[in-house]
């Protein structure tokens, strides 16, 4: 009987070697471990054996059974591994096929630039103040130290609004800069406490309009971001430092700024600010027209007349203002050669940002 068990074991193991698929593995299990398999018939016949033989034969039969079950498990695992390997090999994708397109939405490039400026100035304590786009001549010019018929008005060609009323020297106009907001903000803040108005640190973004021939560099409508700080000890040095910090954050940590004397009626001293060309590092390139510098804004100390018109005593308060063109900054940063792209809204342009 022991011999027979050895044969059963041998035969089963030999047969197992030929099993190559999971399906035939089941057939092998039925044949060699199933209810009517030779091994099972040995178990079935145990009772018929002489009593003294039973323990030895039984023990041996159990050993064979365990052995075959282990072999089955191992074989099964081997076959599973092989099958997995085969199937993985068959499931090769062409990874160069395009991905499924995702419908992304985008902000207008100017919005993106403005937001970055809001963030940079926001961290310096400047808060956004917005004001209207149709203004009076008084707010847009007179209170900002542009008297009627002053030659400085030639710098800002103006769209006028038709009016039924006789408005004399105070016609309605489209604002030529966001500076009327300076007066509106200062008056708002000083009205609450005229004797001791609070300091001001604001940025004034918004659309402005100039009556100009449209070309690649000028459009009839453009955004401006104006910066205004008023307090009891603000200096031209603070203006330089604030603008230099802003420029480093917008254009690169090592970018230098240069202040040139200039003229705006509502600031004095006034300056134009150039930043070192961040595209060529000041070496000269087509964008900076070889100069190594890019003009990015006008600025200056708030003119005493403007402070006074805003309700701030120029003998006690001082301040600075600066005006930046978000479209111009966007153009410089992304090498956009024509400002007219901004409001035409060709999606082939907008989708690049």
């Amino acid at each position: 009987m022991l011999e027979r068990l050895a044969q059963i074991e041998q035969k089963a193991l030999a047969a197992l070697q030929f099993v190559q698929e999971e399906a035939t593995l089941e057939a092998w299990r039925v044949a060699h471990l199933g209810r009517s398999s030779p091994l099972m018939t040995v178990f079935d016949g145990l009772g018929a054996l002489p009593k003294e033989e039973r323990p030895a034969i039984g023990k041996r039969a159990n050993e064979v059974k365990k052995l075959l079950e282990t072999a089955l498990g191992e074989r099964s695992e081997t076959l599973r591994q092989a099958a997995l390997k085969r199937s993985l090999e068959q499931e090769q994708l062409d990874v160069t096929l395009p991905g499924r397109p995702f419908p992304l939405g985008r902000l207008h490039p100017t919005t993106q630039t403005l937001r970055e400026m809001f963030r940079v100035f926001g961290e310096m304590g400047f808060q956004v103040y917005r004001s209207r786009e149709v203004e009076t001549d008084e707010y847009n010019f007179q209170l900002l130290n542009f008297p009627p018929d002053h030659p400085a008005r030639d710098m800002q060609d103006t769209f006028f609004i038709k009016s039924d009323d006789e408005r004399g020297d105070n016609p309605l106009i489209l604002r030529t800069h966001t500076s009327p907001g300076q007066i509106r903000a200062m008056r708002e803040y000083s009205a609450a406490n005229p004797d001791n108005p609070p300091p001001v640190r604001i940025i004034l973004p918004g659309m402005c309009f100039r009556y100009e021939e449209v070309n690649a560099r000028k459009d009839i409508q453009f955004n401006q971001l104006e910066v205004l700080a008023v307090g009891r000890g603000i200096t031209f040095g603070d203006l330089k430092g604030t603008i230099a910090d802003f420029a480093r954050r917008m254009f690169g940590q090592n970018v230098r700024t240069r202040f040139r004397a200039s003229y705006f009626p509502f600031t004095e001293p006034s300056a134009e600010v150039d930043v070192e060309c961040f595209l060529c590092g000041g070496q000269g390139c087509p964008v900076c027209k070889g100069s190594g510098w890019l003009e990015i804004m006008g600025c200056g100390m708030v003119h005493p007349v403007v402070l006074r018109n805003g309700g701030y005593d120029p003998e006690k308060y001082s301040g600075f203002a600066a005006g930046i063109g978000p479209e111009r900054v966007t153009m410089l940063r992304h090498h956009i050669e024509d400002i007219r792209y901004f409001w035409v809204n060709d999606l082939r342009f907008l989708e690049q940002f």
Binding site: G105, P151, A152, T235, D238, Y263, Q283, K289
Partner: protein
Amino acid sequence: MKVPISWLKDFVDITIPIEELARRLTLAGLEVEAIQYVGLPLPAGKVEGHTSGDSVLEINTSGIEWAADKIVVASVSEMTPHPNADRLVLCKLYDGEQEHVVLTGAPNLFPYKGIGQMEKPLKVAYAREGAQIYDGHQPGHILTTLERAKIRGFDSYSMICSEKELGISEDHEGVILLDEDAPVGAPLVEYMGDAVLDISILPNTARAASILGVAREVAALTGQPLKKDEGGRAKDEGGRMKDEGSSIDELLSIEIQNPQLNPRFVLGLIQDVQICPSPYKTQLRLKLAGMRPINNIVDATNYAMLELGEPLHAFDYDVLVGRIANSPHVKIITRTAKPGEKLTTLDGVERTLDEKTVLVCDTAGALSIAGVMGGAESEVYDASKEVLDAQGIEAKEGEMPGGKSSMRSQSTVNVLLEGAAWNFTNIRRTVRAQNLPSEASFRFSRGVHPAMAERGAKRGLELMQQWAGGVIVPGLVDNYPLPPITPTVAITPEDVKRWLGIELGIGEIKKILEALEFNCSLVADNCLLAAAPDHRLDIGEGITGKADLLEEIARIYGYERIPETRLSDELPPQRSNPALEREERIRDLLTKMGLHEVVSYRMTSIEREARLGMDLNPAAYVRLANPIASDRYVMRQSLLSSVMEVVERNARMRERMTLFEIGPLFIASEGGDPSTGSGQGLPNEPQRLAIVLTGPRGIPGWQPVDVTMMDFYDLKGVLVALLEELHVGQVSKPDEVGYRNPTYELPGNPTYEPAAHPIFHPGKQAKIQVGGRPIGVFGELHPLVRQNYDLPASPLLAAELDLDALLALIPERYESQPVPAYPPVLEDLALLVDESLPAERVAQVIRQAGGRIVTGVRLFDVYRGEKIGVGKKSLAYSLTYQAPDKTLADKDVAGIRTRIIRRLEQELSAVLRS
């Protein structure tokens, strides 16, 4: 303002390289836009060329260098015709070293063609063999090197140069004929080499619109003294003064009717001048400064204007005498024009003048428009030349201005010279009214100090005498009724520190201001009183004057030397800006949902907006008084119209578009805008949000996607998501147990109801309301409206929302809900209802009947078909039952379900489908 360096040197020594000078002027507010080299060596060893600046110079440069050993002054002693070329002349010349014979075809040497030995040698600019000059025959600036060649059998290796060949001007009509005193053999660059700074003049730097004005700045910036004597020349170099006959006061008088408009008027008289071309060096300077030489008299007025900044005007004195029947006394009157008064200006145009225009007149009538342009009749006249005006405008053939050529056969011999001061805003107004910009009005419209009137007139007379001979009638007639106040400003080192952030001693401040010719005196320990010099009108008084001085101090001290500091002032009270923050949140949400932001022009036309078919009030348009284009004459009243134009513009390139814009409309208001509190008649500027969707739902790729066209429900999905994400109307609080009123039960929840807006399809549009307040409308564009646009056939979904109203509905904060701890019970409910019943009504009844246990009612199927009969539809809902404090038992749910079904049957006649 073009400033030849040689001219500048008449007033100040230049101690630094030209490029450095240009840089310093630029930083100090006189922006040098370009440097043109005319003979002087270019930087960086270049011979010539046009650079668009370089990293060291930072300024555009152009021009050519005249090699000292190759281009020299030569003297032509003999001229003979070329034996076998009619149009060529052979010139024998001496260049200081040897004689040469040079071939030329210059038309201005033709008159000398057969003359042989010259009585008086001609001085010319001579380029030796190997010299590099511009090719005169080619357009533009092509550098060429003179090489030996045979021309018509003649050995040619050098050249007598034209202005074009030397880069002076574009003139190649003839060769340069130098003044008689030009030293033979001298390098031309030493004799007349130059460089020209092109400086842009800002409205507050009018004082620098002259050579002297720039020289003052150069002197202050470089610490050099200013040579005060004009041109550095001795006055009256041997000039004759009239010492007999009538005194000037007997001949002339001046009446000023409005001193506010004409604070000063000065007249001088020079007699017996001989009109001819000016010396070459004068012509050269005028050309380099951008003006055309005319004749010695006109050139003298222009030269003095460029030099000192005071525009002068020369009259033909005899014409004036003739106008008053040869009376011996000419009276000049300045006054404003009479209504409808006319004057023919020297450009030949008869101009009708308005009552604000100031005229220079005599007793017979108007002579010129003050400070702007002379009249044709009394203009200086050169009978030997084409008629040209002082500005060098050629009169058109056959229409001699004012018919003066027929009236006058003789050149001017006696010149009356005007130097005056005018109110600059009035001049500016006249220039605009008459559209007459000129070199004179450029200066007068920016302000010229009355002190310059006398100085200019004297200089003009001096130059006339120098170039045209004649005798100056001694003295001037000077009417000066309104001298300007000389502003005197107090300034202290404390002021400088407070505004500029730098510590300057009183001595240093004084030094800077005195370099700019301020008259300074120390009044207290540490306080300086500075009086403005008499060439400046840009200095104010009091605190404005202080700001003016601070600017001068900062400029001359150098902006670059002021250290950068960080704001150390008190930080203002920080405020939140909910309107902006919420608006930005809407932008973020819409872009998250795949929409693109656009920004359009605010200006449009009524016709363009009418295409959208909205009921816009024509009276409410904000109209431009000076529109720049015929299709942009009003401010928009519809934001959707702007976005529709964007859709139309992109329709050929993009089938699928998902766009939005946020921005203001402009609605004219009667009686003022309450938001400004000023009642100034300002329009309202309400903010709107416009959305347009069109095209396939998915983006086509290589795998199947849903490419059916977007419809009403796509847009509704966007709007619902937007309002939900903004938490509009969500303010509920849980009760003690944790039950909360479902948010949809609140009166503040958005509702979507059928609307009747003319731009939308009548059956495919809805209005959004929150708490009864309208937020906007949306829907599919009406087929008749879409016909007005050039668009493909796919449905176009559009919305225009009242952004201000929407922003106001966004709660300051919202609350989250705990994640339920107990399992929900889910159940489906299919109902058969009338087709006309709005689905929302069914959901409403389910919610109301279900109460707070029903936390979710989701429609998952709408079915219509024969099976259920015509006029019916089946709505299938998935219901979520959920309690915050326990696991719901079947009996809990069964009771609620029964209640719901009963209410649906009773109120909506709904039938439960099994």
